[in-house]
Amino acid sequence: MKDTDIKRLLYTHLLCIFSIILSICIPSFFLENFSILETHLTWLCICSVFVTAVNLVLYLIVKPNASSKRSSISYKVTRFLKCCIYFLMSCFFFHVIFVLYGAPLIELVLETFLFAVILSTFTTVPCLCLLGPNIKAWLRVFSRNGVTSIWENSLQITTISSFIGTWLGAFPIPLDWERPWQMAIERKKMCRSFCVPGMVLGTVTQ
């Protein structure tokens, strides 16, 4: 049981990383002038969409948690809508946090919001997939001794490492005097580069 779980966990993480890489490579075939640095906003959108899609698909295939007893259509629809609302709320919440942390209020609002979206895709979407729209379960997972399964453990590690990566990403900001939007890029890059080892670490430590 545990071995199969670990294998599945490894595959899901590999797929997630692969999707991020794909989101860099694929658009360059379809879009002109695409590069991470120049058209970073587009890339942020694409990356977010890719990761969300992969997460959803994986969730539907793997089904890590026990399926709920109720399975009526209306229940599923409300659940889905709830998930959407939660996602949006988390985006706005992160946006507010970024602004409180010193991001400009009016200028660069699009960058900041997209950054909030991508951080939400890295943190909120897996939570939604795994735990459902259930804040209490989230709070339980993110506290000491609150983890009950491998999946939750990996979720904990990846999410926390995403946050730490985002936080670390802020440090080069004073160093670059180039273009202000690099802030978003830098944060993003750092975020991902810390997210990925976090994922791998999560798998290995099991």
Binding site: G102, N134, S143, A170, P174, L175, W177
Partner: protein
């Protein structure tokens, strides 16, 4: 034209200018192409005396690609073409000077002191023949400072006063009339002018500063007077030999070079030994703080202190004796350092000996990981000039991270939510609606409120000069500089509103802990003196912001009032502080019949004597004694009912004094700032209040045992002091000092006294350091204050009097700060520990600054960034240390006063 740094350096100096953005190192062509577009038309236009074209492409290219790159070749050949084009267009009376301000290393960078970096090309060209003979293949090296006198004299301008350069004599030789005599005479006269100026400078400088070598100075002055006499003699008798002229020239040159060498030696000298010694001493002191803060709570600590003190004194005396006998000059710095080392070494030795046997070494580093990380980041950030410049933004970021970390930690350890909720996720929905759940959102709200406060305070931000894209907040300027009556009135209203809000908040706080009912003079002062101070401040601001609009008849009155009002406010604050020191105990004693428990908010010691265990404490005994006394008295007066003695506000007696003192300190400081900064002061009080609450939520109260203040609390406090320094509109550079603070209350200036304006400006600059350092003991006191809330909540459901009377013994009283008095030994240790921890956090900062300034002493930015930062940080450290000392002294004074108050009570009852 060219580099837009000129615009910032010499605003308005040019009659015509074309500037282009220069900050982007990757942009090789904007500046150069911009110059080329305007250079030739301007030259041909002919409306210029001096034309400066500052090309930047080569410098940027060096930074980006290095010297050996095809781009560099392109850039250099472009410059070559530019020079060729210029040479073709030059008129006969024009001199082309091509200079580089620095060289570059093999990686293309500069800023250091290697030969490659400090040597640059100098190319002089004029269509008219400049030099009498063909220049040598290996021309001599001309110091860069020689350009100033040369160009000045060539342009027919006086040489600037501060110059110590030497004119390039070759340029003054008149090559055309090939008479060697007149050419030598021209050279000599140029040199003589130069030497006269340098001698004047030297004279003034040596009178003002004593750091030049006296002997050398004398020698040089002799040389100058001799050369100058020779020169005068030669002028009188023009038929003198050419050889004599040459000697004069050499003498003058010798003089100029001698002066330069002497000045360079005495100015650009770093005492490496002192630097290393100072840094080592600082590091050792930090280590000591860390060590002692760990040991302060252990028993048996005090005997450790005496011998090192004696050793330190002894070593100082021995050292002084040695120096005196060998006839060397007594240097107080060295003596102080010897004393410090002498006391440090034995202490560390003893500590090491005591440590090894008892405790594992790991306990030496008690700082928890995340906080250690924060301290390390802060330590490292001082070594990068970008981070020092960006500190105003980085500090709120770190502070915000620390706050979120605190909230997250609270959650992680399960203190935010009830344990039931965490273990059984789905079932306890109804149970979680109770009180602990409320405290969870409470902590979260505190965190978000703090972040909001920090962000708002960040709006009041002065930009460092180095960031061109940044705009300083317009709110930092005084109201008097505003135009537009309506906006001014609105702002004035907001400022006064902030003042009133500050006052109301403090009064509300005191009222809540019911310290406002006491008849003590200091409380009376808070009730009546503080509003007076607010009134005075508001009136002063009104006068200051609208002084120009006053009708002429009232001018004298306005001027008088603007002198009197600030002094009055300061005097009121001082008298308030005096009163506070005189009678710091703000306690109201009442002997009442009936049930005070239900009527008063806090009655820490009331009612009949409690259980047997409490008899160990002194205080209940006193109360028992008093109660017996009152009972006797009441029996005499034949009154009925249960008897109680209530001492109100005893639970918050320490912090009430602290808060009162802080408010009294804040008002004069506020007066020194621009009006709109009062909003920041309001935010300051608000955010420290929120932070204290948040921290108190995470600190458990250990009733009998040692009290400790966790490291994260101390670091957050220190960070907040730095953050407030910036949001009060300061920057650690000298141009950003608010000089106008010296004229608050002294609009006519100070005459010759210097210490008073220095004090005023210093108080303005280091206001936040002072306030936070004085308020530091609140970190220890606050958790005890917060204890009352939980207790009160438990109290309320009991409600009716009957029940309250039935169960007084079972109910745990909120003893609050009296817990501290119950264990005076631990209290003292905790105060010491708190002070040392705060000093350690500050000491780490100043150590980093000192190290950065000494290691990077040849850095390009050392005088612009690192050295001022170090000076500001050092001054801030001194102010903080004094403030900390004062704060702790105040707490001790309150402690003593409370003790004597108890004693008086006993005496009064015994009589």
């Amino acid at each position: 034209m060219g580099d837009d740094t000129w615009k910032d350096l010499f605003p308005g100096a040019f009659s015509q200018a074309f500037f282009f953005p220069s900050f982007n190192v990757r942009d090789l062509h904007t500046v150069d192409n911009g110059i080329l577009e305007h250079l030739y038309p301007t030259m041909d236009g002919g409306e210029w005396d001096v034309l400066i074209a500052h090309f930047l492409g080569v410098d940027h290219c060096g930074h980006k690609y290095g010297p050996h790159h095809p781009e560099m070749a392109k850039k250099l050949s472009q410059m070559d073409q530019v020079i060729q084009g210029l040479v073709e267009r030059l008129e006969n009376d024009t001199l082309l000077v091509v200079i580089g301000d620095h060289g570059m290393t093999i990686t293309g960078d500069h800023g250091g002191d290697s030969d490659l970096e400090i040597s640059a090309a100098l190319f002089l060209y004029s269509p008219k023949a400049l030099f009498p003979r063909v220049p040598p293949k290996e021309p001599e090296i001309v110091p860069q400072i020689s350009l100033v006198p040369t160009l000045a004299l060539l342009l027919g301008l006086p040489i600037p006063f501060g110059n110590i350069g030497e004119v390039m004599a070759e340029l003054f030789a008149e090559a055309e009339d090939s008479q060697p005599h007149s050419s030598a005479l021209a050279q000599a006269s140029a040199l003589h002018l130069n030497a006269q100026q340098v001698s004047r400078f030297l004279h003034t400088y040596s009178a003002a500063a004593q750091n030049l070598q006296v002997k050398e100075l004398h020698q040089l002055q002799n040389l100058f007077s001799k050369a100058s006499a020779d020169y005068q003699r030669l002028l009188q008798s023009p038929q003198g030999a050419e050889a004599a002229l040459q000697t004069v020239i050499t003498e003058l040159q010798q003089f100029l070079r001698g002066v330069r060498a002497m000045c360079i030696e005495s100015w650009a000298r770093f005492s490496l030994g002192r630097m290393a010694g100072g840094a080592a001493l600082l590091a050792a002191a930090c280590f000591l703080c860390l060590l002692v803060s760990q040991w302060a709570t252990y028993p048996g600590f005090h005997p450790l202190l005496l011998t090192p003190m004696a050793c330190g004194l002894a070593s100082t005396i021995v050292c002084a004796g040695l120096l005196a006998t060998t006839g060397l000059k007594l240097d107080p710095v060295v003596l102080g350092a010897m004393a410090a080392v002498g006391s440090l070494l034995p202490f560390l030795w003893k500590a090491w000996a005591g440590w090894g046997s008892k405790r594992p070494l790991a306990a030496l580093f008690p700082i928890p990981g995340p906080v250690l990380l924060f301290l390390l980041i802060r330590f490292a950030a001082f070594f990068s000039d970008s981070f020092v410049v960006a500190e105003a933004r980085a500090t709120p970021f770190l502070l915000g991270s620390l706050i979120l970390l605190l909230v997250a930690q609270l959650h992680w350890e399960g203190k935010l939510l009830p344990p039931k909720l965490l273990t059984i996720p789905r079932l306890c929905f109804s149970a979680s609606a109770g009180q602990p759940r409320h405290s969870g959102t409470h902590a979260l709200g505190l965190g978000v409120g703090l972040l909001l406060c920090i962000r708002l305070a960040g709006l009041f931000h002065r930009c460092p000069e180095e960031t061109p894209a940044c705009h300083s907040s317009p709110w930092l300027s005084p109201l008097a500089s505003m135009v537009g009556g309506r906006a001014k009135n609105l702002w004035y209203g907001a400022c006064v509103g902030a003042l009133v809000a500050l006052l109301a908040a403090v009064r509300l706080w005191l009222c809540r802990y019911s310290n406002l009912k006491s008849p003590e003079p200091s409380v009376l002062f808070v009730r009546w003196g503080l509003p007076l101070m607010v009134l005075g401040t508001a009136a002063y601001w009104a006068l200051a912001s609208g002084a120009d609009e006053a009708p002429p008849r009232l001018r004298a009155l306005v001027a008088g009032a603007s002198v009197v009002l600030p002094r009055a406010v300061a005097g009121l604050a001082a008298s308030g502080l005096m009163l506070l020191l005189w009678r710091p105990v703000t306690v109201l004693v009442k002997a009442t019949t009936g049930t005070p428990r239900t009527r008063t908010v806090l009655t820490p010691f009331s009612g009949p004597p409690t259980s047997q265990a409490d008899l160990d404490y002194v205080v209940p005994q006193i109360y028992r004694h008093m109660q017996e006394e009152f009972r006797g008295r009441l029996e005499r007066t034949k009154s009925q009912g249960p008897l109680t003695v209530a001492a109100y506000q005893l639970g918050s007696v320490y912090s009430a004094a602290m808060v009162t003192a802080l408010t009294l300190l804040a008002f004069p400081l506020l007066l020194l700032h621009a009006e709109r900064i009062s909003l920041v002061f309001l935010l300051l009080f608000l955010q420290s209040f929120l932070l204290l609450h948040l921290l108190a939520a995470g600190i458990p109260i250990t009733t009998p045992g040692p009290f400790t203040v966790p490291w994260q609390a101390v670091s957050a406090w220190a960070l907040m002091a730095t953050q407030t320094f910036y949001s009060l509109g300061h920057q650690p550079v000298f141009p950003a000092i608010h000089w106008h603070a010296a004229f608050v209350g002294f609009p006519e200036g100070h005459g010759s006294s210097t210490w008073l304006p220095a004090l005023l400006v210093g108080a303005n600059t280091f206001a936040s350091h002072l306030l936070f350092a004085v308020g530091c003991p609140l970190l220890l006191l606050w958790p005890f204050l917060c204890e009352s809330q939980g207790a009160r909540k438990r109290w309320q459901p009991l409600g009716n009097e009957a029940e309250a009377r039935v169960r007084p013994e079972e109910e745990e009283e909120p003893r609050m700060e009296m817990r501290l008095r119950d264990a005076p030994h631990h209290f003292n240790a905790a105060l010491l520990q708190l002070g040392l921890k705060y000093l350690f956090v500050l000491g780490i900062q100043i150590l980093a600054c000192a190290l950065a300034a000494s290691i990077l002493r040849r850095h390009l930015m050392v005088w612009k960034v690192f050295a001022p930062k170090f000076i500001f940080e050092a001054m801030g450290f001194i102010v903080s240390s004094v403030g900390l000392f004062l704060g702790i002294a105040l707490v001790m004074r309150v402690d003593g006063a409370v003790s004597s108050w108890f004693r008086q009570l006993i005496l009064a009852q015994q009589r």
